[in-house]
Subunit: 134 residues, 2 copies
């Protein structure tokens, strides 16, 4: 079986370069949920040389910055898990106090029905990411 | 109410400097579960200047490296959440296929009783962290 993130983008691509891409996860209740996905197949952050760890985190923090600017969330969550798809990718989530899971994680059992909120468009997110990352 | 990570170390301290500390989380089923906690109270990674983001991630990746060396895990998970304690801290977890939650996250519902495994001692973890971080 092939690797999902080798074979597919993993969401609507908001920004990309030769090293990684930033995509939007398709969860209606979490419009401020992006992923930063390494283009090549690597398992762990410490499998990357230090210069590339920095490059990956630079994209992750740019994504956090843009989500904070455009969503003004209660809290940002950052996570590199990959237990199901062991191809380096970072979840970057803008969370709000009335989300379905808050203050638990989005991987926990839901506490309530989540509040729907307006999604910033892919075009607006992409434009701001290009502004930060070039 | 005060902040838990301002008032307490948050676990057995394995390594520390003036900027952050690495502690062991006290979960019997997850002996390879550490946290890297910023000493001062800051909410989000992008509230830190870039030099301090790098310093924090350097400690996180050192912790990942040491856990990989000493536990040989199936997968490492890294996460900065802070929904409950919004004081910057990174969870660094060494996970195995027979863990209670794998391949779900440790914040998900358990799938099974977790396999107990021998814990590397605090002294051994601390010594190796000092070897990597100085």
């Amino acid at each position: 079986m092939g690797c999902e993130f080798c074979e597919q983008d993993g969401g609507a691509v908001l920004w990309r370069d030769a090293f990684c891409r930033i995509v939007r996860a398709a969860y209606e209740d979490y419009p401020g949920f992006c992923r930063v996905i390494l283009n090549r197949h690597v398992r762990e952050m410490t499998d990357l040389p230090e210069s590339e760890r920095d490059r990956m985190m630079h994209a992750v923090f740019a994504c956090e910055q843009v989500l904070r600017e455009l969503y003004r969330p209660e809290k940002v969550n950052l996570a590199s898990l990959g237990n199901q798809v062991p191809h380096l990718h970072w979840h970057v989530l803008a969370l709000f106090a009335d989300d379905a899971h808050f203050p638990d994680t989005v991987w926990s059992a839901a506490r309530r029905s989540g509040a729907r909120r307006a999604a910033v468009s892919d075009a607006a997110l992409g434009a701001r990411l290009r502004g930060v990352l070039g």
